[in-house]
Every structure is written in C-alpha cells, then in structure tokens.
C-alpha cells in the first residue's frame, strides 16, 4: 500500500513543477467553457428546452474542470516501452496491475484537482446563467462526490485494460488515441449527454464512459433525482468490478507473455 502512495506522491510533485503551463492550461480551459456556454445560450434563446440552461452550464463547467480525468496520456510510458525500462517495472515485487492502476489514478487525480479548483472558483463568480450553480441539495452533492470517486475508479480500470494492450503492442499511440476519442464523445465532453436525443441517452448512460463525469454531474444538478442515486452508484460499482476483473485477467496473461519475450 505504501508503494502505491509513493507512486501517487511522485506524480503530484511532477505536476507541480509545470506551474506555468498549468496556468495557461486553466485559462485555455476556461475559454473553452465560455465559448461552449455562449453557444448553448444562443441555441436556447432560439428554442428553449425543458432542462434549464443553468443545468447545461453547470454541466459544461464540471466537464471542463475535470477534463484531465478523461484522457489517457502517459507520455512516460511511450519512452519507457521504447527504452525497455519496462523491464524494471516487471522486476518489482508489486502486482503490475495494482501498480499501474495506482499510477493511472494518481495521474488523473493530481492533474485535475489542481486545475479544477481554480476553475470552479472562477465559474462560481460568474453571473447566473453563465456560472456554475449550487448543487440541487446537500445529499445530492454527497451522492455526486461518491459518483465522482466511483467514476474515477471505473475509468481507471478501463484505462488499465488499454494499458494491457499497450504492453502487448509496444506502441500506445493508436490504442490510447482510440480510447481518448471514445471517452471524449461518450462521456459528454464534446456535447453534454443531456442534449443527446433521449433514446440515445438511455443507452449511453449505461456505458462505462459515461460513468466518470456524466453520472456524477447529473446527480449534482438534480437531473438524476436522489431516488435514482442508489441505482446509478450500483451501476458504477458493477462496472468497476467487471472492468477490474477483466483487467487483472488480461494483465496476468500478458505478464507471462512479456516475460517470455524478454522485453
């Protein structure tokens, strides 16, 4: 457990070093948020919808703030594979699956938390209809937080599966790009899932991609009433179990193969 924590801490320190880039990134992200909100407001002005604009605006801000959690981007991994440094990882007395799981989670958490906080502060200062609104209720907020944590576990498990394939093919770019694309669309980042046709939403919200951000955001805004919260959280948990099991299976199989290959 301690080694997982140290992997986490290492990642945190790394992220802190790139402060300047981070500030630029935050401003860039805020800009995107404003543009998207301006677009949706213009659309709403033309044809008002059932769902209040404030919910859509909140949706956009939360998506932008936690954007870093979406993407798989372990640049180190590419170099590690190329240089053969992977061999060192294989020699460690940790379960490889667990090690990379912690690593992925750390990357997502550190990257997003440091950007989310300033962004959300900014978003809360904006006038109504532009800024983030308060949660539907305190229980809603708690459920949303729970949903976020579960969603994070879910997506980390998903990415860990991709990682297993990456180990096999030794070139992560193609596969990671595919995962990123799927995430971007089906998590509600490019267009809020709440604006998708209702029939589509029924299916997409069941997929693991939607669990990271869409599920918790709906709990936050109250679009998903509290009564549904247990069902949502259970769905997330279910995915976590399935994806983790699948991941461990694949890793064990690949671990044997890698050792045979000799790196």
């Amino acid at each position: 457990m301690r080694s997982y924590l140290s992997a986490f801490r290492l990642r945190w320190k790394m992220e802190l070093q790139y402060r300047g880039a981070m500030i630029g990134g935050i401003i860039c992200q805020i800009m995107f948020g404003l543009i998207l909100i301006a677009l949706y407001r213009a659309l709403y002005a033309s044809k008002p919808q059932e769902m209040p604009i404030e919910h859509v605006v909140t949706y956009v801000w939360l998506q932008q703030a936690f954007f870093r959690m979406l993407l798989a981007s372990d640049a180190d991994l590419l170099d590690k594979i190329r240089s053969g440094g992977i061999a060192y990882d294989l020699c460690r007395p940790l379960s490889l699956y667990g090690f990379y799981y912690a690593r992925i989670m750390a990357q997502k958490m550190t990257g997003s938390l440091m950007r989310a906080v300033p962004m959300l502060v900014f978003a809360s200062l904006l006038p109504k209809g532009w800024g983030i609104s308060l949660p539907a209720s305190v229980p809603a907020l708690l459920c949303a937080l729970a949903g976020l944590v579960l969603g994070l576990l879910c997506v980390s498990a998903l990415e860990n599966i991709t990682m297993a394939f990456t180990m096999k093919t030794l070139d992560p770019r193609g596969i990671q790009a595919m995962l990123n694309m799927l995430m971007m669309v089906l998590s509600g980042n490019i267009l809020p899932l709440t604006l998708f046709p209702d029939s589509w939403q029924k299916v997409i919200t069941l997929l693991p991609y939607a669990q990271l951000l869409d599920a918790p955001i709906r709990l936050y805004t109250g679009d998903t009433p509290l009564s549904e919260a247990p069902r949502i959280l259970a769905l997330q948990a279910g995915w976590i179990v399935v994806l983790t099991a699948l991941g461990i299976l694949l890793w064990n199989r690949h671990q044997k193969q890698i050792i045979v290959q000799g790196g």
Binding site: G24, R173, L182, L191
Partner: protein, 266 residues
C-alpha cells in the same frame, strides 16, 4: 519553384517515414476520423434538437462547420511544420540545423512536418459542406466557388499566423504557451458556428483580433445568400485578406524572435 519542389519532396519523405509504422498510423487516422466525426455528430444532434439559431438554419450550420473543418485540417496537413512541430524544433535544437542550411527558415520549418492523418477530418468537413450545400439549397456560381477557395486558403494563412505566435512564445521561453491555444483552438471550436450568435466580447475577439469571422464567416454568409451583418458582396472577397494582414504582422515579430534566438543560442 525550386522551393515547391523541395517542399513536395520533403512531404513525400515524411509520409514514407510515417508509413514505416503502418498499424499505428492507420489506428491514429481512424481515431482522427472518430474525433472529427463526433464533432460533426455534435452539430447533427444540435440541429436535431434545436433546429436553428437565429437566422441560421440546419444547412447553414453544416456549411459553417464544414468550412472550418476543411480549412483547419488542410492547414494541419500542409502546414504542420508550423502548427505542431515548431516548438519541438526549437526545444531539441533542430533549429540550429535549419540555420545551417542555405534555405529560408520558414521554408524549412514547413518542410519539417506533415500530418496526413488529418485527411479523414478534411473528408468529414467536405461531407458537411455537401450536406450543408444541399440543405441550404445554395445557388452555386463561379464567383461563389472563388470566394470559397479564397476563404479556405487565406483561412490557412490566418491559422499559420496563429501558430506562429506559439513559436515566438517558445523562442522567448514563455512558460504559458497554452494561452495561444485558447485563441487558436478556441477560435476553431467557436467559429465552427457563425460568429454573430455569440455575445459581443467573443465576436470582437474573433473579428478584430483573430479574424476567423472575417476570413471564413463573411464569405460563407455570402455563399449562403445570407450575408453576415448584411454586408455587401464585395466584402466576401476583401475581408479574407485580413488573414494575410494578420500573418504579416505576426511574421514581423517572428523575425525579431529569430534574431533573439540567434543572439542567445539554444
């Protein structure tokens, strides 16, 4: 013309290099297809739910989206040297190698990279243009075709200018280079839609500062028969020139940046 020959030969060689890793290449190209496809899907779903924005109807929206896609991604294919590779050239010191060769700096930079994976994105843009053209029932004339060609080309020049800013920032070791991304990628995302639907600050940003609206939207409005702000037809041919003006201004700063680079080394 010798320069064009050099450019073409460089492009061919770069593409051959990329095809050395065919699986990864096609996977990434496919991923691009999905990405741009999903951006277009967003437009489709928006049109499905909202129908129209102000005076702009479904066909118009597809047309605007297509114009931006085709312009932006064609620029990334042919201008990748500036749009993506430049920071890498400076950080790795390859700029020195460029300075050691008897050709212009910008020429060599353009010859240094290409991103043929974006071809699928251009394809989707074309599809969107065709859909838009049909839905909006555009009456095509030679003049309109000319306006479109001019808009795409000068839009490319504008985009190159924007990425040139990023290069300048890298030369001066500015930490938050990502700020430029707000203008470039923000501009791309925003101006996939007609600029007049946005509030004033954004409108001014993308008309006076990074003139996407002047270069792409004015001609698009003219082609669709719904001129932006009801401006006269000749603006569709004159406004895109702002892209050239923008590039020229940035280029002057770029020369200064180069001089700075050459006096401080790498």
């Amino acid at each position: 013309m010798n320069t064009i020959k050099l450019y073409l030969r460089s492009m061919i060689m770069l593409i051959r290099c990329q095809l050395e890793y065919p699986v990864s290449f096609f996977l990434q190209t496919f991923a691009q297809f999905i990405m741009e496809g999903s951006e277009m899907l967003a437009v489709i779903l928006i049109v499905d739910r909202f129908g129209r924005v102000n005076q702009w109807e479904a066909g118009d929206l597809f047309f605007f989206f297509g114009m931006m896609s085709v312009t932006f991604y064609l620029t990334e294919i042919f201008g990748r040297g500036i749009t993506g590779n430049f920071p890498y050239l400076i950080r790795t010191g390859q700029m020195d190698t460029i300075l050691l060769r008897p050709r212009g700096v910008l020429t060599q930079v353009l010859c240094s990279a290409t991103d043929p994976r974006r071809i699928t994105c251009v394809g989707i843009g074309i599809v969107s243009l065709v859909i838009g053209s049909n839905l909006a029932k555009i009456q095509w004339t030679w003049l309109k075709a000319l306006a479109m060609a001019e808009a795409v080309m000068l839009g490319g020049v504008l985009i190159l200018g924007l990425f040139l800013i990023e290069a300048i920032f890298v030369i001066y070791s500015v930490k938050s280079v990502e700020l430029v991304n707000a203008l470039t990628y923000g501009g791309r995302s925003a101006c996939e839609y007609p600029v007049d639907i946005f509030p004033k600050p954004l409108r001014i940003l993308f008309t006076a500062i990074a003139p996407f609206a002047l270069v792409l939207h004015v001609p698009s409005g003219y082609i669709l028969g719904k001129p932006l702000y009801s401006w006269p037809a000749w603006t569709a041919f004159v406004c895109p020139l702002s892209g050239t003006v923008f590039f020229a201004i940035i280029y002057c700063f770029f020369r200064l940046a180069l001089r700075h680079y050459r006096s401080t080394g790498s």
